[in-house]
């Protein structure tokens, strides 16, 4: 049904249509509206046969999901930011045990400094945890990806993260088509677990594995993700047949077939990028874009096919791999190994910094003029950075950097918070 609603509400309704049996909720901005929405659906009786558990931490949320999934229940939770790090150990455990839990990540930065706004640092930190990671471009895709995620995860006995940009998508009101229960029931069969904890067939799950078999067990995790590379496009095609729209798949291309310059990104920023592509195309620039939907498994072959003809690829990344640059571009270079394609990483939008069309256009032009560095930072205020570096050079204890930069931005002599004397402030 077409409706105008908040992204989180639409996601909650979509998850409910998947008939989860156990939902674990622990609040963290910007994920809260999703679990609140599900809580209301359960409490009001609209979502039946579902245990909604208010847990005491994200670590417990994932652990409850592990116990529930291991007993054959369809389990769901949602988190973001610090929460995903707090549950990190259990995230690895869920995939190691092959439990098809679905989790929404309302993508948000990681502190310090604490910041509630969007970037991809949180889910990127867990990119190697053995979970499938799907990134939604719009709220419609977020709705659709959750339905596909349960199907995909349960088919392969792997957990799936559906990554949704915090605020930009979770809190945006836009038109969404939420499918009917009949449609979802027809697409998503009942959960038939590969292995369950059950007194009728008592087995030991989670035994200690030594060097003689650990490599093989870990390789199996990789092999299953390679199977997902096959299954993800198949499920997206089937979804198109059943629901009548394109959602999911490994990646989406936009005006890239004849493009010399191709922009690659994950998530909602692809909307902005497409607008820039349209503008530059109108100016006669051969530019296009590719949105990566499945970051894990990484669609190396599909990307090589989609990007191979381009002279250059500009990766707009919402996370910084500190000490080297970008995560996505690093992965992409592996996919393009042996080709002459130049790959640029543009770190953008950290902590919710607006990614504007004007700035993107400028950076794409620099790339086309072969003036763009291998790693660059969109709209980074280097003057402020240099002044802070200078303060640190002059003084052993110049005070907290984040506060000093805020003071600097507010203007010389204008204090931020308690310390108006040029240093000090909140320590």
């Amino acid at each position: 049904m077409l409706k105008q609603c908040e992204g989180s509400v639409a996601i909650a309704e979509s998850v409910a249509l998947c008939r989860p049996e156990v939902i674990c909720a622990y609040p963290i901005t910007p994920q809260t509206h999703i679990v609140e929405g599900l809580g209301l659906l359960v409490k009001s009786g609209k979502l039946k046969s579902c245990e909604y558990i208010n847990v005491e931490s994200e670590f417990a949320a994932m652990s409850v999901a592990i116990g529930a999934s291991a007993c054959g229940a369809r389990a769901y939770t949602a988190t973001a930011s610090q929460g995903i790090l707090y549950m990190a150990e259990a995230i690895y455990n869920a995939s190691g045990l092959g439990l098809p839990i679905v989790m929404t990540v309302g993508n948000r930065s990681i502190g310090a400094p604490i910041n509630i706004w969007n970037d991809h640092t949180d889910s990127m930190a867990l990119r190697d945890a053995g979970w499938i990671q799907l990134y939604a471009e719009s709220n419609q895709e977020a709705v659709d990806l959750h339905i596909q995620a349960f199907r995909l995860g349960e088919a392969l006995s792997l957990p799936v993260m559906v990554c949704v940009d915090g605020f930009i998508l979770t809190h945006a009101y836009e038109r969404v088509d939420v499918p009917s229960q009949e449609q979802v029931d027809a697409y998503l069969p009942r959960f038939e677990p590969r292995q369950v904890v059950d007194p009728d067939e008592p087995v030991t799950i989670g035994a200690m594995v030594g060097p003689e078999a650990f490599m093989e067990v870990r390789y199996l995790a990789h092999a299953r993700q390679m199977q997902a590379l096959e299954l993800i496009p198949e499920l997206a095609a089937e979804f198109r047949g059943a629901f009548g729209r394109d959602s999911g798949g490994l990646l989406h291309t936009y005006r890239s077939e004849d493009a010399e310059t191709i922009v690659v990104a994950l998530g909602s920023v692809n909307g902005t990028i497409k607008d820039v592509v349209d503008e530059m195309r109108a100016e006669g620039v051969k530019i296009g874009s590719v949105a990566i939907c499945s970051f894990r498994p990484f669609p190396s072959a599909a990307l090589a096919g989609a990007l191979g003809h381009a002279a250059r690829v500009v990766v707009v990344e919402k996370s910084l791999s500190v000490g080297i640059g970008g995560n996505v571009s690093h992965n992409l270079k592996m996919a393009l190994a042996g080709r002459a394609t130049r790959v640029h990483a543009v770190i953008a939008g950290l902590g919710g910094r607006a990614i504007t069309m004007a700035s993107l256009k400028k950076v794409f032009r620099r790339a086309i003029e072969d003036r763009l560095e291998a790693v660059s930072f969109l709209d980074l205020n280097m003057e402020v950075v240099n002044r802070q570096l200078e303060r640190e050079r002059l003084e052993r204890r110049p005070g907290p950097a984040a506060e000093a930069i805020l003071r600097d931005l507010a203007g010389a002599g204008v204090g931020v918070g308690a310390g108006a004397n040029g240093k000090g402030g909140a320590r």
Binding site: E51, F59, A60, I66, G67, A70, E89, V197
Partner: protein, 335 residues
Amino acid sequence: MTGPNRVRFYQTGTFTVGNRLLDVSVGSVQSDAERNNSLNSGHRACQGCGEALGARYALDAAMRAVDGRLVVANATGCLEVFSTPYPESSWRVAWLHSLFANAASVATGMAAAMKVKGRRDVRVIAQGGDGGTVDIGFACLSGMFERNDDVLYICYDNEAYMNTGVQRSSATPAAARTATTPAAGDQPGNVFGQGKSVPLIAMAHGIPYVGTASVADLRDLEYKVGRAMAIRGARYLHVHVPCPLGWGCPTGDTIKVARLAAESGLFPIFEAEAGEVTGRRLIRRPVRAEEYLKTQTRFAHLFNPKRDEARLALIQRIADRNIERFGLVEQEAVA
């Protein structure tokens, strides 16, 4: 103890042996030829392991109480490592190991799954050592308690991190030597005035049932497991299980050492319902705390090279306080 460690085949004065002549209905679960053997022989626990003994009795009692309709979540630790070196398993119950800190939460998830699937007959036990319970797993445990999830959590308390090589936990008693509270300096061993009583904390949650038990009285342990399984909601059982390796006592003395802990009052055995103490195991033959301490090399520095009278008195005070607080000695028995 001097000389070889003598094995007695008939231990007079215990409740644990000799009941094979009783009617099955009043006999112990272990005396039943049809017992489940939940933790089967062949596992790799050390000789004299109190935890293996406690877990076997507890789970067999639980399996009998719920007619085999049981699933178990196990925390990382000795119990997990010695029982399941892949591809072997000693467990004859449906058993899941996830992580060190999350057994209580995993059990919550299991109980939720069973409830939603209409399998209320299937009951859930979570179990772990003291490290996985009173330290790293404490938040998950408290969460499970306050939500009153339908889980029995059993802590096998051997008073330190034994699996990693005997490091101090918040269940380590005062003065005990561990690898991280060495018997060195002016105040050798574990610091006084630290640690916590998780049974009392569990009671503060107001959960339906809390019990402490000891491998010194296995019949009492079986009774408490049975009692706990007859109740729905969050339940907690804290079982004292000597670790000969970590405590430095002969491997044949596990029961004896556990009994001295109970009889000295250092490990009070009681049960509580809805936050109120409802029963205690009375001390039958009171002993001084030092009789217990002397059996273990982890307390050797209290006696050698000279007696540490001040700290021995402090430990005796802890025992006396327990006896008074839980009423462990009948008034007329106090001489």
